[in-house]
């Protein structure tokens, strides 16, 4: 019987790679264990898959919500800011001016909203099974990409309608999306880890997102700001993302330039510091959540 088991275990690859796990208290700042995260990439994939499958279950409109949210916001903004307040829009029709900004913004904000609450809403998992906890907020942010694609299709439709040809700069879009992703994840890592102990975060996030929306050139063009302030304003990485989207798709002359460098640096430091903070707090998650 024993031999047979050994063969079974060997067949399933258990005996061939025998990992040695060492469990001991961690102190201070710990490594990010990115290698382990990579080993758990399948689980990450399944978390994203679950998020997508579950998100619009038992809703009447289903995935249409991914489109309705930015579109309705665009309509409201167009009426209030475009028509009533007569907000300048860099010479571009206001609806598409705001919608081109709302698409990456919605990706950022909804990712932030989901991910900052993700550890708390998955507390049953955290308390019952081991896996790299980073999988949870990462999957929450990544699962927003599908919504982004759906909203983006509408954006393409609108460009046809307004007869706007994208510029060659459109090849930069994936990088801009990556920047939005890194920013969303970086902030989420901080907030989700804090949320485990301080549920205040759950209250702060919608409020923070709202303020952040107005600190980003979505309803107005950043050209409204005079120069020394406009660079300072670029500390908000979403400024670079949003103006970059308009520049690449609508051909505004808001080439991100040095703003994008500031944005990348800020976003990268948010991401790294967030991941480090997350890893440091991780050991307490199961005990505190």
């Amino acid at each position: 019987m024993g031999n047979e088991t050994n063969r079974n275990l060997e067949a399933s690859g258990v005996l061939n790679d025998k990992p040695v796990i060492r469990i001991e208290p961690t102190k201070g700042w710990v490594s990010l264990k990115l290698k382990e995260l990579w080993e758990y990439r399948e689980l990450l994939y399944f978390f994203i898959w679950r998020d997508l499958k579950v998100r619009y279950k038992q809703t009447v409109l289903g995935a249409a919500w991914a489109i309705i949210q930015p579109v309705v916001t665009m309509v409201v903004f167009s009426v209030i800011f475009g028509k009533i307040a007569k907000m300048p829009s860099d010479g571009i029709p206001y609806p598409i001016f705001s919608y081109a900004a709302l698409v990456p913004w919605t990706f950022f904000a909804s990712g932030l909203g989901r991910a900052s609450n993700s550890l708390v809403s998955n507390s049953n998992l955290i308390k019952k099974v081991y896996f790299p906890r980073l999988c949870i907020p990462i999957s929450s942010v990544l699962s927003g990409i599908v919504d982004f694609i759906l909203a983006f299709i509408i954006l393409i439709g609108m460009m046809f309608y307004f007869r706007i040809m994208p510029t060659v700069n459109v090849i930069c879009l994936p990088l801009l999306l990556l920047l939005a992703l890194a920013t969303s994840l970086g902030v989420s890592l901080w907030l989700s880890a804090m949320n485990v102990q301080f549920r205040d975060v759950g209250i702060i996030v919608p409020f923070l997102t709202q303020i952040w929306l107005f600190a980003t050139p979505i309803v107005y063009p950043s050209s409204l700001l005079p120069e020394p302030w406009r660079t300072l304003y670029g500390i908000n990485p979403m400024v670079g993302v949003v103006e970059g989207f308009r520049w690449a798709l609508l051909g505004t002359n808001t080439a991100p330039g040095h703003i994008i460098i500031i944005a990348s640096l800020v976003s990268l430091s948010l991401l790294i510091s967030g991941a480090l903070y997350f890893r440091r707090m991780e050991k307490n998650f199961a005990d505190v959540v």
């Binding site: 399948e42 399944f46 679950r50 499958k53 308390k127 019952k128 307490n284 199961a286």
Partner: protein
């Protein structure tokens, strides 16, 4: 090859528990405190201290200096009272929670089953949940695909595999959840007692599966406070008491010691004060005594014991029945017996006085385990009083080793004869 697959060295775990808040003296103080405390907490947060909503100064040790080693292929039970630290130990071994000091090394792939159906989502179908749950438990995609049909067959949910699990009956849900866990193929399995949920049929299936795993030569660590399960599954048992390792030895040894310590909670006797609520009749005491008439809550499997029910009759009564009933911890009624069964008191008048009805239970009848005693009184078939589960007692296997094949609710030793017939087959 090193045969120790798990090496636990002086593991301790400290938990912070909230301290009662100090009373604010004045409104000004409380306002100042309310303003200052968010900053204090924020400072703590930045320093990486775990702190929740209140000041956390008081600590408890859930585990203190626990060390042991487990060899390849061993099936080890961990017992202890609720809150003794056994689940904490399992959480540390599963890397869910981090030890405060000490270290553990584990050689090989580990799966921990602290709960069945972790990550099950009610909106997802059975199929989706199998895949998701498998991934959460650490199975690879190919492994899940390979075992998918086996899992479905084991759970007996073929027809509903594409139905969201929220429409499943609780039995189906549990079967599916356990089926995934049962198909894990890791070398080392850490199992918590919460696995033993659901109906008895399902429990049997679970335990049978764990037994199979054990027989396959894999290493199993099984946490439970159910002695009989541990007894059945594990050859060695570790007893954790108040966070410390109390005993680590052969299961029989440990269980006996553990039960003896538990028995302080069992009562061999209860006395009733005179209340005269009922002016006809009153029970004075109920007592369990051993063969030698010593009050005891632990009786030897082999020896007989007596249940003594003392009562006072205040007016002449005819047709009094004293009843004793024995129930096991799962609520199964083992037997019910009346004092009129084998006496002539049913037709006799009990004059006002003190009486004791004594029921002698033969040895070798009740399986070793814990039982509850209920006592009742009926007069002319009307129940007068019924004290449900008034005493609990333990039948200990003592030195007697029950043949594991002797299954059944009771274990009577019947009279058997073997006749050597020789050629004369008809006799």
């Amino acid at each position: 090859m090193n045969d120790n697959v798990i090496h636990v060295e002086r593991i301790s775990k400290q938990y912070h528990i909230g301290k009662r808040q100090e009373k604010y003296k004045t409104l000004q103080d409380s306002l100042a405190n309310a303003l200052a405390s968010p900053f204090r907490r924020a400072m703590k947060l930045l320093h990486g201290h775990a702190s929740g909503a209140s000041e956390l100064n008081e600590t408890i040790w859930a585990l203190k200096d626990v060390s042991f080693e487990i060899k390849r292929g061993e099936v080890v039970g961990i017992i202890g009272r609720n809150g003794a630290g056994k689940s904490t130990l399992l959480k540390i071994l599963s890397r869910i929670s981090e030890p405060t000091s000490g270290f553990i090394t584990i050689h090989g792939r580990v799966s921990s089953l602290l709960e069945v159906g972790i990550g099950f989502h009610p909106e997802l179908t059975g199929r989706d949940n199998i895949v998701l749950n498998g991934a959460i438990l650490g199975m690879k995609r190919v492994e899940i695909d390979k075992k998918f049909d086996d899992i479905v067959a084991f759970a007996e949910v073929e027809k509903f595999i594409d139905t969201p699990v929220k429409h499943y009956s609780s039995g189906m849900y549990l079967r599916l959840a356990f089926a995934v866990a049962a198909h894990l193929e890791t070398e080392i399995l850490l199992v918590d007692e919460v696995l033993a949920v659901g109906d008895t049929e399902f429990q049997k299936k679970c335990l049978g599966k764990i037994q199979n795993v054990a027989e396959e030569g894999r290493t199993v660590l099984f946490v439970s406070h159910d002695i009989s399960t541990i007894n059945r599954l594990c050859s060695r048992t570790i007893w954790i008491d108040s966070g410390q390792l109390r005993l680590d030895s052969l299961t029989n040894n440990v269980i006996q010691q553990y039960m003896l310590s538990q028995m302080q909670g069992c009562m061999s006797e209860i006395r009733f004060p005179s209340t005269h609520v009922n002016n006809k009749f009153q029970i004075k005491f109920i007592r369990i005594v051993s063969e030698n008439n010593e009050p005891t809550a632990i009786v030897d499997f082999q020896n007989s014991f007596k249940i003594k029910i003392g009562y006072e009759v205040f007016e002449p009564l005819m047709g009094v029945f004293i009843l004793s009933r024995i129930t096991d911890l799962y609520g199964n009624i083992i037997c019910t017996s009346w004092d009129t069964d084998t006496t002539d008191w049913e037709d006799r008048v009990r004059e006002p006085d003190q009486y004791t009805s004594i029921c002698t239970f033969p040895g070798c009848l009740l399986r070793p385990g814990r039982y509850l005693l209920s006592v009742g009184v009926a007069i002319n078939r009307h129940i007068l009083t019924y004290h449900e589960n008034i005493l609990s007692f333990e039948v200990s296997p003592a030195n007697y080793c029950l043949n594991p094949g002797r299954v059944g609710i009771i274990t009577p030793l019947f009279k058997w004869e073997v006749i050597h017939n020789g050629e004369n087959i008809n006799n």
